[in-house]
Subunit: 328 residues, 4 copies
C-alpha cells in the first residue's frame, strides 16, 4: 500500500506541498514534471521553494499553480530567543518577497480555526498578537503613512460555531474592506511528526478546500474571495493513519532485508494492510490526530514568530520594541 493510496483510502490530508512533492518523488523515483524546487540552507532554517508551473504540475501535485515556500526550523521547539528572532526575520523576508506590497497596500488578516481547540487555535492566536491599524487611518492618515500599513483582522470561528462557511464570512468582509491581500493563517496537518510546530508554509495560492486541522469544506483563495490570498500554515498534528502506516512500512522494510522474507513481502495483500490500519484506528479512521503533549506551548511560540514576521513585513516604519507595546 503506497502512501498515495493511504491518503486516498483514509481520506488523509497532506497539507504541505513539500511533503506531497516528497511522496511523489519517492514513489516514482523521478522529478515531478512541471514542478521546480529550490532548497536554501540557512543557519537556523531550511527554506524550500516549490513552484508549480504547468498544468501537468497541477495534476501531479493536486494543487493550483503558484509558489509554496516551506521554512523548516526545528529550533522553534527550543526556547532560544535569538534563534527565534532569526527565524522571524527569515519568515519576514519570504513574506516581503511573496506579497510585494506597496506603501499604501492594505491587508486583511484572517485567523482560521477554532479558538476552543488547542491544535486548531493557531490562526486566532496570531490574530490576537497582531497589530490592527485600519481604523486609525480615518483620523490621522498622514501621520501614519510610511509607518504603518492598513491592516484589519478577523478570526471568524468555524462552521460548527457560526453555522456559516468561513469562506462566506470572509468574502462578505472582503467585499466591504476591499483589501489588496488577504493573509489567512491556519493550522495544518503534517505528514511527518518532526514538522509539528516547526515548519511554516507560505502559499500565494491561498487555501484549498478540505485542508487544515478542522473540516473546512470551501477554499479560501482568489477564486472564492475575489482578491489575492496568501496562506500561512503551521502543522500542529499528524493524522494517526500516517503513524500507523509508517509502522507497517518500517515492518515491511524489515522484511525486505532477507531474501526469503522478501517473497512474503511481495505476496502480502495490500487489502489486508488496509484492514490492519482500519482496525488499529477504529472507531475513528481518518479523523484521528496525533500531537505531542507540549503542543500548546509549541503553537504559542510559532504564533509569536508568525505575528512578529507579519509585523516586520506589514509595518516597516516601527521598531520591534515599539511594536511589542502597540499590541494588546
Amino acid at each position: 500500500m503506497k502512501k498515495s493510496d493511504l491518503i486516498r483510502e483514509f481520506n488523509v490530508q497532506i497539507d504541505m506541498a513539500v511533503e506531497a512533492h516528497e511522496i511523489l518523488r519517492g514513489e516514482s523515483g523521478n522529478e515531478v514534471p512541471g514542478v521546480r524546487m529550490i532548497k536554501d540552507e540557512l543557519e537556523h532554517a531550511t527554506v524550500t521553494t516549490i513552484d508549480i508551473e504547468t498544468e501537468q504540475g497541477v495534476q501531479e501535485m493536486g494543487r493550483p499553480k503558484g509558489s509554496y515556500i516551506t521554512i523548516d526550523a526545528p529550533e522553534i521547539r527550543e526556547n532560544n530567543y535569538l534563534v527565534h528572532q532569526d527565524i522571524t526575520e527569515t519568515l519576514a523576508k519570504e513574506l516581503v518577497k511573496l506579497l510585494n506590497l506597496k506603501e499604501d497596500s492594505s491587508v486583511l488578516l484572517v485567523g482560521l480555526g477554532n479558538w476552543n481547540a488547542t491544535p486548531d487555535a493557531l490562526g486566532p492566536q496570531v490574530i490576537e498578537k497582531s497589530l490592527v491599524t485600519r481604523h486609525l487611518f480615518q483620523f490621522s492618515p498622514d501621520e501614519l503613512k510610511g509607518k504603518l500599513r492598513k491592516v484589519s483582522a478577523i478570526a471568524p470561528g468555524v462552521l460548527g460555531i457560526t453555522g456559516i462557511e468561513t469562506a462566506e464570512i470572509i468574502r462578505g468582509i472582503v467585499e466591504h474592506v476591499k483589501p489588496d491581500w488577504v493573509i489567512a493563517i491556519d493550522a495544518l496537518a503534517a505528514g511527518s511528526l518532526d514538522r509539528i510546530g516547526t515548519s511554516i508554509q507560505l502559499a500565494n495560492t491561498g487555501i484549498s478546500p478540505g485542508s487544515g486541522v478542522g473540516n473546512k469544506r470551501v477554499g479560501i483563495n482568489e477564486e472564492t474571495l475575489g482578491c489575492k490570498v496568501l496562506a500561512i500554515g503551521l502543522p500542529t498534528v499528524v493524522n494517526a493513519a500516517i503513524i500507523a502506516h509508517n509502522c507497517l512500512e518500517s515492518f515491511m522494510d524489515e522484511l525486505k532485508t532477507s531474501p526469503s522474507l522478501f517473497r512474503l513481502y511481495k505476496e502480502f495483500n495490500p487489502k489486508s494492510l488496509e484492514n490492519i490500519l482500519s482496525q488499529a484506528l477504529s472507531p475513528y479512521s481518518g479523523n484521528l490526530m496525533v500531537a505531542p503533549k507540549e503542543i500548546d506551548t509549541l503553537i504559542q511560540s510559532a504564533a509569536r514568530i508568525i505575528a512578529g514576521a507579519l509585523g516586520i513585513c506589514l509595518h516597516p516604519g516601527i521598531s520591534r520594541e515599539e511594536y511589542q507595546m502597540y499590541l494588546q
Copy 2:
C-alpha cells in the same frame, strides 16, 4: 440644568426608549405626541411597549419609528430558578410577537461588543449559549423541519480589535447568508442604576449609531444591513455623569423645600452646575461608566435568560431540557 441638557452636554447616551420617554414626559409634564405607551404588570416583570408612530414622535424621541418593548424584571438580580424561568418565558413571548417568524424563516444572531471587557461582553456571551443550526440543514433538511429553524451566529468583535466597522462585517455576512432577520444583542448604558442587569429592551428598529457600551459609530439596522433587524439590549452600566447629575438634582430639590432657599435655587447658574459636573468627572467627562461590583454574575444571568428565550422562540420543536444539551 435639565437632564436633556446633560445628555447633550456630556454626550451621555440614553439607550433605552423607555427612559428617553420618561425624561421627555417628566420635563414637559405632557404626553409625548406621536408616541403610544402601554404598560403591562406581570407577576415577575413589567412589560412596557412604546410605539413611535409619527414623524413628530420620531423628532421628540430622537429615534426611528417602531416598537420598543422593555421588560423590567428586578428579580433577575436574585438567583431564583423559577422566577428566572418565568422571565425567560415572558421574554420569549415578546420575541415571538415582534419577529412573527414562519416555519422556514432564518435568523442571524449577532453578538455585539467586546468579549474582553466585562460590561461589554453580553452579546458574545449570548452567542456562546445559543444553538446554531444553519449548517445542519445542508445534510438533513427534512428531519429538522418544524423542529429547528436555520440559525447562524457571529460575535464579530469591536472596531479596536478588527479595524473594521462592525456594521460592515455584518452587512457582508448578511449579503451571503441572506437571513430573514438579524437579531443583534448588545450591552446598553442605562439612565438609572436599578435597570442595570434587570431590564431587557427589544426594538424592531435595530440599533442606532452611537448606542451601546462601546463606541459603535455606525447603526445596525435595516438601512445599513438591508434586512430586518431586531435589537435586544440589556443595560450593564450607567454613565457616571448621570449619577453626578442626580446628586445635584437631589440637592436642588432639597433647596426648593424652603421659600428663602428657593430663590437661591432659581438664581443658580446652570453653567456653574455644568462646571461642577465637569470637575467631578475629570479627566474623563462622558466616558466614565458606573457598574455594581457583581456586574459579571448579573450579565451571566441575563445572558442565560436571553439565550433561553431565543431558544424557545427560534426552535419551538425541541424541549427545554433537550435544548440545554444541544448547547456547548
Copy 3:
C-alpha cells in the same frame, strides 16, 4: 513484544485499572490473583468494578488496594439529552456509594490539568460547572442544612504554570479547609481509542504519581494529602505508541494465520519491533498523544455529565433545574 513490555519500554501510562486488568488477563489467560471484577450491564452503560484486595493484587496491577469503577458509556459521543441524563444518574449512584457522605460532610473539588490545553482541560472545566457553597455556610448555615453540602473547589494549574507541584498546593489547602473528601478530576490516557471521552473511572485510592494527560509527578492521594481522595478520570487521549503497537500486533496476527508465516512470526525479534515503533514515533517516543478531531466537544459533554453527577450526589436537597441556575 507484549503490551506490558511496550508500556515499560515507551513509558506508556495505562491510567485505567480496567485496561490494566484486561492486559494482564489477556497475556496470562488467567484470572489475576487478589483482584475481583464485577460487570454490570445497564441500558446505556457498562459498570465494571475492580477491587484490588490483596498485596498480590497490588503487585500484579501496579496500583494500590481499593475500588476502581469504570462506567463505559459510548453514547456520550452522541448528543442525546435523555441518554446523557441517564448516564449522569448512573454516575451519581456510583459516587454516592463510594463516598458514603454524611449530611454535614464537606468536600474539596480539585480540577487537575491545564486549562490552556484542550485534552488536559477536563478538570478545570468540571470545576467551572460545579456549585461551590462552603462560603455560604458562614452566613446562613441552618437554612442550607440538608439542602447543600459544604463544597469548595480549586483548579490549581500545572507545574509549568505555577512552578509548584500540584500535590503541594492541594495539601496546603487541605490542611486549612479540612475537607472529609478531596474529589480530584483529571483527564486520563486510555489504552484504547473507543474509550476516549466515553469512559469514566472512579477510584477511591486517589491518583497515583505519573498518571493523567500532563506530567504529574506526585500522587494525589490519602498518603500525600492526609485526607480521603476520590479520583474521577476520563480518557481524552491514547498514547500514539499504543496505536502503533496495535498496528504491528494486527500484522502479527495476520502472519499467524498461515503455518509457514507462523514460523516467521516466532523468529521475529522483539527488539526489531521496538526499533520500528521508535522510528514511527520519532522524534517524540512516549510523549505523543492521539485524539479525535472533535475532542473539545467530547470533553464538554463529559464535563457536563460529571459536574451534573457531582451536583446530584453532593447537594441532594435541590432539584436539577434549580441546580442549573445556581451555576454561573
Copy 4:
C-alpha cells in the same frame, strides 16, 4: 460631610496610603504625626514614599507600620513604548529597594482577584505574563544560579469561585513552598479618577483586610501568611460614592464664594447630604464602581509594566528581549 465621614458611612475603601494621607492633611491642615512623606519628581513619574513610623501614625492612617510607595505615571494611559519602558525601570528600582533580595531568595507571586471581571483581573493578568522558574531548579540548579531566581506563582481566584478565603489558600501554599517573599498583585479602588490605571502602589506591609476591588475579608500579610509580603496594587475603579461626594463638595465650594450663601452652607445638615448621596446611589450604596470605558486596555498596559518590572527585579541575569521569549 467630611470625606473621612463619607468613607465610614458608605463603607468606601481608600486603598492607597497616599490618598488617605492627602485626606488627613487636607482636613486637619497639619502634617500627620508619625508619618514621613518624601516626593521624588522624575521625568515620567512621581514617586511618593510614605513611611508610617510610630503607633500614632498607625492610628491616624488606619494601616500598619511600613513603607508605602506610590508611582504616579499618567503617561501609562498613552501608548508610548519608550515612556512605558522608563516607568517599568522606575518601578523595578523601587521593587529592588523594598525586596532587597539575595541571590538565592525565592518568591511566590500571587495574583489576587477574579479573572472573569475586567476591573478585578489585574492580578491574574500579571501572573500570566510572569516567568515561573521554581520547578526548573530541580533539574539544573547550577546552570540557573545567578541568572534566574526561584519564582512560583498562583492566581487562586476569589471566594465566590473557590468557597475558600484566598488567604487560607495562600497560607497553605506558603507552608509548603516556603518562599522568602510573597508578592501579591491586586486591583485597588482609588479615591480619584485620574489614578485609575496610572498609579502603582507598593507596600511592604502586605494587604489589609477589606481592600481591593472584590470583597477580600482577610488580610494577606506577614501575620496571616507567616512570611514577608509585598503588595503591588493598581487602582482600576473609583467608588461611585466618591464621585457623588465630589459633586456635592464642589457645589458647597461654589456656595462658599458669596457671603449670603456661606450662611446657607453652614446651616446645611450633613445628614441631608448623606440622604442625597444614598438616593443617588440607590439601590447599591457602597458597592458601585466607576471605571472609564477603556479600562481593559489600561489594565493590560499596567499588567505589562508590572510584570516587566518584576522580571527585571527577580531575574537580573537575563536580558529583556530574552525575557519576552521565555514567557508564554
